[in-house]
Amino acid sequence: MTFKRKLLSTAAILALSAGAAHAQVSGNVVKIGVLNDQSGTYADLAGPGSVLAAKMAVEDFMAKDKSLKIEVIAADHQNKPDVGSQIARKWYDSDGVDLIVDVPTSSVALAVNQVTKEKGKALIVSTGASSDLTGKACSPNTIHWTYDTWQLANGTGKAIVQTGGDSWFFLTADYAFGHALERDTEAVVIKSGGKVLGKVRHPFPSADFSSFLLQAQASKAKIIGLANAGADTTNAIKQAAEFGIVKGGQNLAGLLVFLTDVHALGLEKAQGLIFTESFYWDLNDQTRAWSKRYGAAHGGKMPSMGQAGVYSGVLHYLKAVSALKSDDGTKVIAKMKAMPTDDPLFGKGSIRADGRKIHNSYLFEVKKPSESKGPWDYYKLRATVPAEQAFRPMAEGGCPLVAAK
């Protein structure tokens, strides 16, 4: 009896190890989890649109390469770091998820970054913003795909100081992302010869900005920098118009503005805003064709840069898994860094050792209502920042991965 049991268990162990040796893809399926805000402030700029983008990437990948079985799932982290890391743990431990993508809300992204490193899985941050993800919190298991606070600060901050906006007041969302964006922009403003007259930190999220705007108004700064995102930004812009801030000679700088925010504001209120993004649907034929497909499946809405980044990131990940014949997180991320990136949305690019994805960055201005040909025709291109200048030089980030080399 005991002998029989031993035999059985030995056979089972053998079968298990044999299975692992043959198929390196865990559970025989590559499971991708889209983790973002599905219902709150950031649901329109990420949310279900990002899930669609991930599915489109899988579809496009499968059309060329049928070697993998792929599954996409999604969950709502409610912009709470504890909820986000709990989901991440459960996904990695018991649901067999191999890759987590998107993760807006920097505080959540930083938490999931930590969990992913612990578990040796893979994370592609697309909508999360803090440049710390490739700085002091960088990890061999994370790639920061679409944009970051340093890039936004560098693109927008520099352009505004150079055109005369040399005194600033910051309206900052009081959490990791706002702090990072404020810090990075302040550095750029001072380096370009401007000065910062004051700042106020507002709770995240906030509906009423009138008292913060009043403080900004009293500072007499030429530029009011909005270091926040989503509904916080749109409400601040809307209420600034009401308090006659722009008419009084002060200007607003939206440091992180998504296409969906401009859509919510309407051109009447958003016109003239200048900001930095990594993607716009109307950049070239390829982005237009892809966005048209996306819109057809998403009620006519055009993608935000975060959603576009999810597509591009997932596609590159799948190419790396296929090349490696394994979905081991650490190995795949290393492979992704070794392979050049190429997709219809961001063109050719690369990934640095610190996990930063490198591509062009664009300075956009919002069109006047008279210049727009219809819904979603919102931006005109002011300047293109070439890929090699768009992001923080690797040596300045303080990423331990790079320093160790």
Partner: protein
């Protein structure tokens, strides 16, 4: 420049005024809640969703029927109030005999359903709604720039609050209502249709939420989540003022708006929390609320 605690006086004056404006919304919303709780004993958790529906009603009246802000100001509360009547007749009326908790759970569930449906349909970034032509622009008061629309919000909500208080506390209709909550059987025996009166009261409370929604639409984005964010603060206001006390709801609404405004100058990070701190303190020393009776 004169300074108070290191802050320039004009800034403080400005914040006081802003506090009053925000207080107007708190007052209007907590008034509706107080009326419903005072007369129906229902803790109406759907209030935030009904406030949001008011804003959406204004948006649709403008964009589908071309009716401007003033039409919305009159019609949207009626529409939202009518949905309230339906909810009361179909669902709430079955719960009066049960514990408060059931009404709370039901209205909370309805709120989640309504918000979920709107979010599914319209997304969460919100829709734009402009300030009416007549009220755009503003006046420079010396210490701050006061948008005309915000001034209108204070005036209108004060007017509505006073009128409501007057109807309930000083008219015959109000007396019937108050009597009906004390002893419905007795009032019914005098030939007054109590169930209908209760239905209309709920409709009225809900209409107040709808009205607040219309007034909020030009200031905030018309957003499916706007009510969910506000309702928690408003409940704190009602608790501080004393559940069911109409005067309490109005006075605490304005008062807390001002306190919150001042917090935004001195310690902005705490401005979302200060109301709840006050609530905790009040509950410790005066559990029935500032204006409540035991």
């Amino acid at each position: 420049m004169t300074e108070i605690f290191g802050k320039p006086l004009p800034v403080i004056m400005g914040q006081l005024l802003i506090g009053l404006i925000n207080g107007s919304f708190y007052a209007l919303l907590s008034l509706g809640l107080a009326v419903i709780f005072g007369l129906l004993n229902i803790i109406n958790f759907t209030h935030g969703a009904q406030y949001m529906m008011g804003a959406f009603a204004a948006y649709f009246l403008l964009n589908k029927l071309g009716l401007n802000y003033w039409w919305a100001f009159a019609i949207a509360p009626l529409i939202v109030g009518a949905t309230g009547v339906v909810i009361e007749r179909l669902m709430l009326s079955r719960l009066y005999k049960l514990d408060h908790l059931y009404g709370l759970l039901l209205t909370f569930g309805i709120a989640l359903i309504i918000q979920g449906a709107f979010r599914h349909e319209f997304g969460s970034a919100g829709l734009p709604y402009s300030i009416p032509e007549e009220l755009s622009g503003g006046n420079n008061l010396g210490f701050m720039f006061l948008p005309k629309y915000r001034a209108w919000v204070i005036v209108a909500s004060l007017g509505v609050c006073i009128a409501t208080w007057f109807i309930i506390e000083r008219t015959r209709l109000g007396a019937y209502l108050r009597a009906a909550t004390e002893n419905p059987a007795m009032v019914q025996s005098f030939g007054i249709n109590v169930p209908r009166m209760i239905t209309l009261t709920y409709g009225f409370g809900v209409a107040l939420a709808g009205l607040a929604g219309v007034m909020a639409a030009p200031i905030y984005q018309v957003n499916p989540l706007m009510g969910a964010d506000t309702i928690i603060v408003v409940f704190a206001v009602v608790v501080i003022g004393g559940m069911g006390s109409i005067m309490g709801a109005v006075v605490t609404g304005f008062g807390l708006g001002v306190i919150e405004g001042l917090t935004k100058v001195f310690y902005p990070e705490a401005s979302n929390t200060v109301i709840f701190v006050i609530m905790a303190i009040v509950l410790m020393f005066r559990p029935q609320g500032l204006f409540g009776s035991r």
